[in-house]
Each structure stands twice: as structure tokens, then as C-alpha cells.
């Protein structure tokens, strides 16, 4: 039996979850190619239940679950192991990240980014690339905004900016405590803060107006941060698409985007 399924059997599962597990076991290998909606339809359950089941097993979502099952299957039958497996894993993670986003929240944020408020986008180290990407494209779309790449500057800035400003902070890392004072100050001043991170339990979340969390993993290779931040780039891209849409609407007709903001 596949180790993942063995692990599942040891967990305390609800009736529905037992059923999901049974379905996967009895329909191998075709079950690893079913998509989430088809599966939930044939089991008379919801997508969320299946995702919760996957998360119980310590995985990020359904796509990673499928990937894991496939991988373990391959280990049992190693003759057809392929090295492009890794590419499939990245794709699975990418899709899981898309599945968990909140469209309404992103639309609201895109509305803020395209309003007349002063916009500051912060990111340092590798996150600064995501920040720069967002800033450059927003400027291309005629929504001026300011890029901040230095932490000290951010610390000073939060004392000076007007209260209608929007502070968009990208930080992948767990050492979020260094930003705590920034968020506290911003909250006290009534500044809108948008946090984009991949730390689910970041201590900054309670202080931020909007908190977006992606499924990137903070990893290190020889003590160097190699988290590729692909989930963060994905969220940034979606915000860009939404801003582009608002731009297009406002070009066609001055007040069509009222409903979005």
C-alpha cells in the first residue's frame, strides 16, 4: 500500500473523508487524474471537504495530494520514474495556490491600488523583485506608486505618510517581527496596510487591513534563502490583471469601476 494512504488510515477521519480515501484506493491509478470538481460531484461532497482531507494529511491542497500519490506510486514501480516530476510538482503547487485565493478580496485591493490614494509598495531582498514588478506595471497603467526597498526607509516613512495612503508590504519571511512596529504604527495612524506573505501564522496579520497568504515555502540552501516566491508573483499578476481591467473600464466609460471599489 502507498505510505500516504497508510498514514491516512491512522488519522481520525470523518465518514466522508473515509469515503474519499476509499475511492482513491479502489480506483488507482485512474483516480490520480481526476480533477477536484469531478471528484466532489461523484462523491456527493464539496471541494472544501476534499481539500480539508488533503490538509489533514499535511499537504497544501488537492493538487499536491495527487502529486504525492503519483510520486509514491512511482516509487513502488520505479521503472517508469521520470525526472520532469519536479516540473509537475511546481505546477501542482501553482494550482493549489490559485485554488485558495479570495477573488473578492483581491478585487477590493485592486480597487485601492487604482484609487487616487498615495501608494507605497515595499519589498526587500528577493521580495523586492515582486514589489518592483507590481510597481513598474502599475506605473505603466498610469497608476503612479512608489517603490520602497529599504527597511529603514519604511520605518521612517510610516511616521510621515498621510493617513489616506496605502502601504503594500511584501515579505515572504518568518522573521516578520522586524516589521511589527511598522504595522502597529500604521494601524494607529489609520493607514491601510496590505500584507502579502507566505507565513500563515505571521504576527503581522492581526495588524494589517488585508492579509494575503500564498503557499510558497521558506526554504534555504546552505543558509541562503531560495524561496522562489512564485505564489507571491502569481498574486501580484492577478492584481495587475484586475488593475488593467479597471483601467480598461475607466477608459471606456468613466464610472463603470464604481462597483469594484
Amino acid at each position: 500500500m502507498i505510505p500516504l494512504f497508510e498514514k491516512a488510515h491512522q488519522l481520525h477521519l470523518t465518514d466522508t473523508e473515509e469515503e474519499i480515501l476509499k475511492y482513491f484506493e479502489s480506483n488507482l491509478p485512474s483516480s490520480v487524474y481526476t480533477n477536484l470538481s469531478d471528484l466532489s460531484a461523484s462523491l456527493y461532497t464539496s471541494n472544501a471537504t476534499i481539500v480539508r482531507f488533503c490538509q489533514k494529511l499535511g499537504l497544501k491542497g488537492y493538487n499536491e495530494f495527487k502529486y504525492q500519490v503519483r510520486k509514491e506510486l512511482k516509487q513502488l514501480h520505479p521503472q517508469n520514474f521520470r525526472t520532469d516530476d519536479l516540473v509537475h510538482h511546481s505546477l501542482a503547487l501553482f494550482k493549489d495556490n490559485l485554488d485558495q485565493i479570495d477573488e473578492k478580496e483581491l478585487e477590493e485591493i485592486a480597487g485601492l491600488l487604482t484609487s487616487d490614494r498615495p501608494i507605497y509598495i515595499y519589498g526587500s531582498n528577493l521580495s523586492s523583485l515582486a514589489a518592483k514588478y507590481l510597481q513598474t506595471v502599475l506605473n505603466t497603467l498610469d497608476y503612479p506608486c512608489i517603490l520602497v526597498e529599504w527597511r529603514r526607509l519604511l520605518n521612517g516613512l510610516v511616521h510621515e505618510i498621510t493617513s489616506d495612503a496605502v502601504l503594500f508590504i511584501i515579505t515572504a519571511h518568518g522573521d516578520a517581527r522586524r516589521y511589527l512596529s511598522v504595522f502597529r504604527k500604521a494601524k494607529a495612524r489609520g493607514t491601510i496596510t496590505i500584507l502579502l506573505t507566505c507565513e500563515k501564522d505571521s504576527p503581522l496579520i492581526p495588524y494589517s487591513t488585508f492579509a494575503l497568504c500564498t503557499n510558497d515555502r521558506n526554504e534555504e540552501y546552505r543558509h541562503v534563502d531560495i524561496n522562489p516566491r512564485l505564489g507571491i508573483f502569481t498574486i501580484v499578476q492577478i492584481l495587475i490583471e484586475l488593475a488593467a481591467r479597471i483601467k480598461q473600464n475607466s477608459q471606456d466609460d468613466g464610472d463603470t469601476f464604481d462597483s469594484l471599489s
Binding site: 519536479l86 511546481s90 505546477l91 497603467l141 498610469d142 499578476q237 484586475l242 481591467r245
Partner: protein, 274 residues
Amino acid sequence: MVTLHLDDAVIKSLSNNELNVLKYVYEHSDEVLDMSIQTLAAQTSYSSATILRFCKKLGYSGFAEFKYALRAEGRKETPGASAAKAQNFNTRIMIDSLCSNVEGTSNLISEDQLSHTFRYFDSNCPIYLWAPGGITSILSDYFEKLLFSIGRQNVYKIESSKMGEHILRNIHSESLLILISTTGDFGPTVRLGKIARMNNVPILSITPYTNNEVANLATVNFRFFTNQRENRGAEFTSRLPVFYMINAIIRCYLQYKLSGREQTEQGENHDSII
């Protein structure tokens, strides 16, 4: 671009292939008006039966009626109509199209290309990374930073085309030039590629799926899917597939390096087993 009367139910009834046909029709509606069903099938690389099924699902008797409706819509089109279309544009559809671009890109990555690339990464040859400016430079930055962080030394970013030409004219042919282009035809990038070719310097390129000059110059070429866009001259084409691709290359290389090390260690310790 014209508007078709599409509602959610119709879109949901379409298969992935049919959605791709729809995407093509949206992007090339003017050309589609003059196409035969065979031409459209050839253009989209689907069978004419798929096209026909697509038309029927949209509620037309066949391709001819579909074209007729498309033409009629085109005539009616006013600025107001396109605003209505933009409003109907659903966030989910946008996300799906992002996803399909990335998925398509992911499927284009082949082991062959990767192992070719890894040979250059493994040798300690200098890597020159061209940053043409603008948004594409962020991609070069990303590639550079990730290469550094997984321990690849000797990576040099070229930010000025004059300096790039100078370097490329004088370097040893055991180097690698990395060119990233969102259109595949950007003048300065093509120029650097040509100089590198003349001096027998291998080129790794990341370009769109279209037939383009940079890709034709390259020794190893990675391709990605994206839709070209601009706002009155300033382009803002999505770079997400390229970020994805760079990440995939780096991930695979890291894995390859780690597994290679494991194997040599095993080889040293357990010679008898292997």
C-alpha cells in the same frame, strides 16, 4: 474585437480545447471572419469537428452561421458594447487563462533542454545575463538572484547594450549568454544574440512560443505562452509564465545537483552495490 453573447452556462459547457478555440476567435476575430473552417482548424491545431462542436455549443447551426453572427456583432459594436464586455469579464476566467498560460508553458519544458542547460551550469563557465531594461530586466534580476542563491558563481549581468557588445566581442567561446525576450524580436536583444553567434558563444534564450528571431539564434531555447498587451505604447505583457519557467529551471537544477552529489557519495561509499 467583437462580443459574442456568452453566458456562464455556455462557457462552462465548453471543453478546454473549445475554450482555446474561443480564445483564438476572440484574439483574431477579424481574421476569423475570412477563414474557412479548415483554415481555422489548422490555425488552432484542432480538428474541424472540434470547431463545429464549438459553434453548436454556442447555439449556431454551424461555422457559417457563427461567422455570420460574428460579422453582425462586429457591425453593431460601439464603445458601450466593449465596456459591457469588460464588465462581464469574470475574475475566474482571467485566473483560468493565467493558469492555462502557465500550464502550457510548463508542458513545454523538456528534459532535453534542461539537461543541455545543466551542462552549462555545471561547467564553471561565465554566464552573461542580458537585462534589456523595463519589466524584462526584473526577470533577468530574478534569474540572477536565484542562480546566486543556489551557489552558481560567475554570473554577470549586462545592463548596457554598448558594454554588452564590448564584452561579447572579447569573450571566450566557453561562456553562456542568457537572453530573455517577451516579444522575441526586441532590437538590442537580437543584436547581442547575433554578436554572440558570430563569436561562437552559446545562447540560452527564453522567448514566446511564436516564431521569433531570438529563438532562432539560440542554442537552447525555452518557450512560454503569453498574450502581448500594451497601454498606449507602454507594454505590460504578463511575465508570470517566465517567472514560472525560471523557477522550474532553478528547482530542477538544484534537485539535479543534490541527486548528483548523493550518487557520487554513494558511489564512493558503496562501490560494490553499484
